[in-house]
């Protein structure tokens, strides 16, 4: 915080010169140093990403990213399509394991424990993270069963426990009032926005350490988007949230920290206010103001 405020001011010309060189370097595939604001130093990280790289068979999708996600805050990943932000998010709960031919380098630490360590039970790891996807993906079962799915697969079968957890999660996802009278109906009969809030309820029912949101509003209309954003704001008081978004306004509204990625590399990472109002790099400013991307 202190450092970011006392950062030496640069002249526009010097900045432009420095920025164009960075973007050119990235496009040429050269090594770059990401601009990580010192404001992050004061936060306790829950998730540390250390020199993480990822390849789909031959093609490299993520280049040597190092960043720390602060505990109890909302961190947004922004960047143009194909910049690897979704891939990075899916690497956190090892969902990329399901794709053939994915290789990784570097490591990720959750609460100081390595996620990619061979001795880690990936099932258990995923139980400690909730994930919400681009498109609402409720399972073909009742609303109740959808919400308590993570508990069911964990072996919980006591009706009272499930019912309590279900209500808590649905209230947490601000959908309880709408569905409380039809918990046994199919979840596929809900509207898109309701389905997405149901998916959020499903993601928080097992009290995860981290909540991963992969463009949760991209398939929703503006009103549903607004409700989800309010919801993210509310649940951020209790959970660490890592959100991928295409929408600049959304990132600035819901997040505390923002990381800007480009072509698989981290470009700039800092407090959302700083990234959107006083970015250090011309490139970031161009992207967040919509001049590029």
């Amino acid at each position: 915080m202190m450092n970011s405020m006392t950062a030496t001011p640069v002249t526009p010309e010097a900045r432009a010169e420095q920025d164009s060189s960075i973007i050119q370097r990235i496009q040429q595939g050269l090594e770059t140093t990401p601009e990580v604001h010192a404001s992050l130093a004061g936060e306790t990280p829950i998730l540390e990403i250390e020199q993480f790289s990822l390849w789909y068979t031959k093609a490299q999708a993520i280049f040597d990213i190092s960043m720390a996600v602060p505990r109890g805050k909302v961190t947004a990943l922004i960047g143009p399509s194909g910049c690897g932000k979704s891939t990075l998010l899916r690497s956190v709960n090892r969902l990329n394991d399901l794709i053939d031919g994915v290789r990784i380098g570097g490591r990720m630490l959750l609460n100081g424990e390595s996620i990619y360590d061979p001795s880690v039970d990936v099932i258990d790891l995923r139980k400690r993270m909730g994930m919400v996807f681009q498109r609402p993906n409720p399972f073909p079962m009742s609303i109740f069963e959808n919400v308590v799915y993570p508990l069911r697969i964990d072996g919980e079968s006591r009706r009272s426990v499930l019912a309590e957890a279900c209500e808590r999660a649905l209230r947490g996802a601000a959908i309880w009032e709408e569905v409380k009278d039809r918990l046994s109906d199919s979840a596929l009969g809900l509207s898109g926005g309701q389905q997405q809030r149901l998916c959020i309820a499903r993601a928080i029912v097992a009290e995860p350490d981290v909540l991963l949101l992969d463009e949760p509003c991209s398939a929703l209309d503006p009103i549903a988007t607004l409700r989800i954003e309010e919801l993210i704001h509310e649940i951020s008081e209790r959970y660490t949230v890592l959100i991928v978004t295409h929408n600049m306004q959304q990132a600035s509204r819901v997040s505390d920290f923002t990381a800007f990625m480009y072509l698989g590399r981290l470009v700039e990472y800092g407090m959302t206010r700083d990234i959107f109002q006083t970015p250090r790099l011309q490139e970031t400013e161009d992207y967040v103001t919509g001049r590029f991307g």
């Binding site: 709960n93 090892r94 969902l95 990329n96 394991d97 399901l98 994915v102 290789r103 990784i104 380098g105 959750l110 424990e113 990619y116 360590d117 061979p118 001795s119 880690v120 039970d121 990936v122 099932i123 258990d124 790891l125 995923r126 139980k127 400690r128 993270m129 909730g130 994930m131 996807f133 498109r135 993906n137 399972f139 073909p140 079962m141 799915y149 993570p150 069911r152 697969i153 964990d154 072996g155 109906d185 199919s186 979840a187 596929l188 009969g189 998916c199 499903r202 993601a203 097992a206 991963l212």
Partner: protein, 501 residues
């Protein structure tokens, strides 16, 4: 068997079971857990415990022996029951003889005044007048009112549907025939659907997509084109005689091994299974790890070991000194070692398997990847995802496969001629005697019945109307079975609240 060795085995089995039970109490939600190795040890312990328990049970002191006193008691009981049954049989036989004698005394001569002919007993005996017992219904067609005619028509249909055939199938009803057809179709469906779904799950979800799976798919598709009589021959040779013979009498004297050698075989099998699973686990790659020749070699070794394990298990079955068949006492009369309902439904299940596999595979592939990801994202394992998300999502497609299999299986005739359908089966395969469902019995089948009436009947003129009626009935039965399955599918779809498929 040495008592000390037996007690040692019994104690270690008990200890192993206790250890498994104690260690299976959960250590959950306490940080990231280590994986595979512990589970492998557990599984190996379970297998070992099961083997030990089996050994302890089979070699239990005094187990399986019969005291002479008890044997004599059982024999005496049986003799009493037998004499009772024999006297009942004699009574019934006497009654039948009396009725026959009466029947022989009286003949009915129905003259056709125009042609100076009378209705014969049967067409091959034109000079013998009808017996009284051959009259089943008396009516005067020319004086019937329309209502009475319709009533008669319905009564004839009811007789056709509800009664047993008479006079070498040329008269009477076809109830046992319908019964056999429906039962056979239900049984074959019960067998083929789980088998086909498991095969499709393996091919689509578990198998590494490559040369082997392509070969299996080609083989499955070819299976759909094999002439059905070939299945009949296979069913007769493999199911009826080989498997059925084994069920009846156990492995033959010539292939049985001495006890010690057989347990050595069991131990070898266990060792090979353990080796195969260890190689398999070693061949797994960490995410992010490239595939090396070492992995490939381990994978191939593991596969070979599994095949060897499969062979050893088969050998264990063939050489076991403990099994003498479930129906040893009835030999040399075969119980399951002959044509019967069970083998017929298994044969037809094989015949219809490709249909189920192909449609299930397509249904599984059509389940949206986002649902799988959602399930994995919740921390579900692969099997949990398949059981709770993939299979319910694919259920309408699986049921479509089931409907197609039923339609194909219910109409088959050629294999049934070889594996179980008879022109006249005296007993229904379901009765009130234990075990209620008699899978070893022969049965009658509409398709075979039509062939039999049309071409094998002693009086094909008299049977001709029955051929047409039976054909209509076969189509109706298949239609109704399909309708039932389609309604089931509609219900499943409604329950899932989705309209696709």
């Amino acid at each position: 068997m040495n008592p000390a060795a037996w007690w040692a085995a019994a104690l270690s089995a008990a200890g192993l079971v206790a250890a498994i039970v104690l260690t299976s109490r959960g250590t959950r939600k306490s940080g990231l857990k280590p994986t595979a190795s512990r589970r492998v040890v557990r599984r190996a312990a379970v297998v070992l415990a099961a083997g030990l328990l089996l050994f302890v049970w089979l070699e239990r002191p005094g187990g399986g022996t019969m005291t002479p006193a008890r044997l004599a008691e059982i024999k005496a009981d049986a003799a009493v029951v037998q004499s009772q049954l024999e006297s009942e049989y004699a009574e019934v036989a006497a009654k039948i003889a009396a009725v026959r004698a009466v029947d022989d005394e009286y003949r009915v001569i129905i003259r056709d005044p125009a042609a100076d002919r009378f209705a014969p007993e049967r067409q091959s005996l034109p000079d013998e007048p009808m017996r009284v017992s051959q009259i089943t219904r008396v009516f005067a067609p020319n004086t019937l009112s329309p209502g009475e005619r319709f009533g008669l028509y319905l009564a004839r249909w009811w007789e056709f549907l509800s009664e047993d055939p008479r006079e070498a199938n040329t008269e009477g009803g076809v109830f046992p025939v319908i019964f056999g057809t429906v039962l056979l179709t239900i049984l074959l469906t019960i067998v083929v659907v789980p088998l086909g779904v498991l095969a499709a799950l393996y091919l689509r979800e578990y198998a590494k997509q490559g040369v082997v799976t392509s070969l299996i798919r080609i083989a499955v598709n070819n299976l759909a084109g094999v002439p059905s009589i070939v299945y009949g021959v296979f069913g007769l040779g493999f199911f009826c005689y080989t498997v059925g013979g084994y069920v009846d009498a156990g492995p033959g004297e010539s292939t049985q091994l001495p006890t010690f050698q057989w347990w050595f075989l069991v131990a070898a099998g266990l060792a090979v299974v353990l080796a195969a699973s260890s190689f398999g686990i070693l061949s797994l790659r960490r995410p992010g790890e490239p595939d090396t020749p070492r992995h490939t070699a381990l994978r191939i070794t593991s596969t070979v070991a599994w095949i060897a394990a499969f062979g050893l298990v088969a050998a264990m079955f063939v050489t076991t000194p403990y099994f003498h068949g479930f129906f040893e006492a009835r030999l040399p009369d075969p119980t399951f070692g002959k044509r019967g309902l069970l083998w017929a439904s298994l044969t037809l299940a094989l015949l219809t398997l490709p249909v189920v596999i192909v449609s299930t595979e397509e249904a599984i592939a059509a389940v949206q990847p986002s649902l799988r990801e959602g399930s994995y994202g919740c921390g579900a394992s692969k099997w949990q995802t398949i059981k709770r998300v993939v299979l319910p999502g694919a259920m309408p497609g699986i049921l479509t496969g089931m409907i197609l299999a039923m339609a194909r299986g219910a109409g088959e005739v050629a294999p049934l001629m070889l594996v179980g359908a008879l022109k006249w089966a005296p007993e229904l395969p379901i009765s009130l005697d234990a075990p209620f469902l008699h899978l070893d019995r022969s049965f009658m089948h509409l398709g075979f019945h039509i062939y039999d009436l049309g071409f094998q009947s002693p009086d094909s003129e008299a049977a001709r109307p029955l051929v047409w009626a039976s054909t209509l009935l076969l189509i109706a039965v298949i239609l109704m079975l399909n309708l039932a399955a389609i309604m089931l599918r509609a219900r499943v779809r409604r329950k899932m609240g989705s309209g696709h498929f």
